[in-house]
């Protein structure tokens, strides 16, 4: 698959776009340009981080994810709530009210992603002890990070852990459980719905990791599910307890949760896309302390900061702390015979291949000539990075001109020096 064929979940609604420059400069990969009065996203560069969705005042940038009415398509529907969902509700003192609510809105079963997360944490502890793994090990849980590394930090590709994210493990275990409970169910009868805090999870489900195909069928927005839930959720005591998550599993919703679950203080956890990029640069420069594990979350605060959530990430995090307070550390353990190796169902083989997306030309000589032209051109531009030309910086405009994708006259300041 080439990167241009990557199916994105962050899209533009042209009719709402006013061509303002808010998203232009917030995009961490310079994937956006303004052309003909509206934004254009370069698919090859987009990492689905959702920064442009946050930046857009006109709601022109949106996450394209599945709707709950897709439930009609399946005989047996399983909800996979991400732990960040639990942080969305006010005065929630028990996760079970949410799980019960999911059954009330029509799901046949609920499989907590936080349960799978506890298993992933247990196997990650094992992974850390594996001989020959390249350290620091970088978590593969955030799909934005995996794509960012593949596109921009290729020298770190071998550091990415080949462990499937908890969502994927949850999907596999949920299917297995469904078939055990209902032996007549066929694969196509089962619909696995991930309740997602972010559009990147949807892109991951559509595209997989290189040759790996996701077991999740539908990715639905956490805010959609939130609004469906609040009218159906009860706060009575008369509900059956279903939750199988402890502190570790729920902790995965916020930054540092995955790393602290390793019970090993040699880790680094960073969140927010700009911080993450900076940390990756530093790792490439060999300028970080000797840590074993690196957790990177594209969203500020971790998954609770995803663009499909309802609540402010810091408020959600505090609510999760309250929920976790009286829980056991973990409710999922590996048996004595499971301590030896990591089963294949937790692993993937191939990471996405490195694509030199920013390269100017296939020929080095030609690239060097173009780079020299860019430098010359850049020197003639005003250098105020105003964005009025439709490129995020003067440097980017110079590059676009040399690539034949823009005109020097697009620079409003240069063309009208007196205005």
């Amino acid at each position: 698959m080439t990167s241009s064929e990557y199916e994105h979940s962050v899209r533009l609604d042209v009719s709402r776009c006013t061509g303002c420059t808010n998203c232009l400069r917030r995009c961490p990969t310079e994937a956006i340009r303004i052309h003909d009065g509206h934004a254009v996203i370069n698919d090859a560069r987009c990492i689905d981080c959702g920064e442009c969705i946050r930046a857009c005042d006109n709601k022109a940038k949106k996450a394209v994810v599945g709707k709950l009415d897709r439930m009609e398509l399946y005989r047996y529907k399983i909800a996979l709530p991400a732990p960040s969902l639990y942080g969305q509700f006010d005065n929630l003192d028990d996760v079970d009210y949410v799980l019960d609510g999911l059954l009330r809105i029509g799901f046949d079963d609920v499989f907590e992603v936080s349960k799978a997360a506890e298993l992933v944490s247990a196997y990650t502890r094992l992974y850390l002890k594996t001989e020959g793994v390249k350290t620091p090990i970088i978590s593969s849980a955030c799909p934005v990070i995996v794509r960012l590394i593949a596109l921009r930090f290729p020298s770190l590709n071998d550091n990415v852990m080949h462990m499937l994210p908890p969502m994927e493990v949850a999907a596999k275990l949920a299917r297995k459980r469904a078939k055990e409970k209902h032996p007549t169910l066929k694969d196509e009868d089962i619909g696995v719905f991930f309740i997602s805090p972010c559009p990147a999870k949807s892109s991951y489900v559509k595209n997989g990791f290189a040759d790996y195909k996701s077991q999740v069928d539908e990715v639905v927005s956490m805010s959609d599910v939130y609004f469906a839930l609040i009218s159906k959720m009860t706060r009575d005591d008369e509900i059956v307890s279903m939750t199988e998550s402890g502190m570790v599993g729920i902790g995965w919703a916020s930054s540092g949760g995955e790393a602290t679950a390793l019970f090993n203080d040699e880790y680094l956890a960073a969140d927010g896309i700009e911080n993450v990029i900076n940390v990756l640069e530093q790792i490439e420069n060999g300028n970080i302390p000797p840590v074993k594990f690196i957790e990177l979350d594209a969203c500020t605060g971790g998954c609770v900061g995803g663009v499909l959530t309802v609540q402010n990430p810091f408020i959600a995090k505090t609510r999760l702390q309250t929920l976790r307070r009286y829980l056991p550390v973990s409710k999922n353990f590996l048996g004595p015979d499971e301590q030896e190796y990591i089963p294949d169902m937790y692993l993937f083989n191939e990471l996405p291949e490195y694509k030199p997306i920013t390269r100017l030309s296939d020929s080095m000589v030609e690239s060097m000539r173009m780079m020299a032209d860019i430098q010359k051109l850049r020197a003639t531009l005003p250098g105020i990075d105003c964005g009025a030309c439709g490129a995020p910086t003067c440097r980017a405009l110079a590059e676009d001109v040399v690539r034949g994708k823009a005109h020097l006259e697009d620079c409003k300041i240069r063309t009208n020096p007196n205005k």
Partner: protein
């Protein structure tokens, strides 16, 4: 193409927080030229270490990167105090950095050794009291 492509940077000695910016920019540029990740990593580490050295010891200087089809040369020039004993400076773990620099996590004595390790040649031209020019080469072939 006979002429080398040049990237020039002024490394600001007053602003410690900006140290590392030139190597980050060079990394981006080299990626655009389509160089392999392994080469880019070597150049950026060597340059990063040199940049930090100039900020710590010499109050800044200039960094010039010359790219040709065959090799990349990194020339770091400063008007700092110079290096009194080059052989000693090349030893791993040797550093003259102050405690305040060490408290920031730098000054581990790995700068020059890393610059040598990640490049194909390293040349140090230094005069005590006048300054230092370091030339490093990474071959592309």
């Amino acid at each position: 193409m006979s002429e080398a492509l040049v990237f020039h940077f002024d490394v600001d000695g007053d602003n410690f927080t900006s140290a590392g910016q030139a190597s980050t920019q060079v990394k981006k540029n080299l990626r655009q030229l389509g160089l392999s990740p392994a080469i880019i990593r070597r150049v950026s580490i060597a340059m990063y270490e040199g940049e930090i050295n100039m900020v710590i010891h010499a109050n800044g200087g200039t960094a010039d990167v010359y790219v040709t089809e065959d090799h990349i040369d990194i020339v770091l020039a400063d008007q700092g105090p110079g290096i009194e004993n080059v052989e000693q400076a090349m030893q791993e773990g040797f550093s003259t950095a102050t405690d305040s620099i060490r408290s920031l996590g730098f000054g581990a004595g790995m700068g020059l050794p890393n610059m040598k390790r990640y490049t194909d040649s390293l040349d140090i031209d230094t005069v005590v009291g006048e300054g230092t020019t370091i030339t490093m080469r990474v071959n592309l072939a």
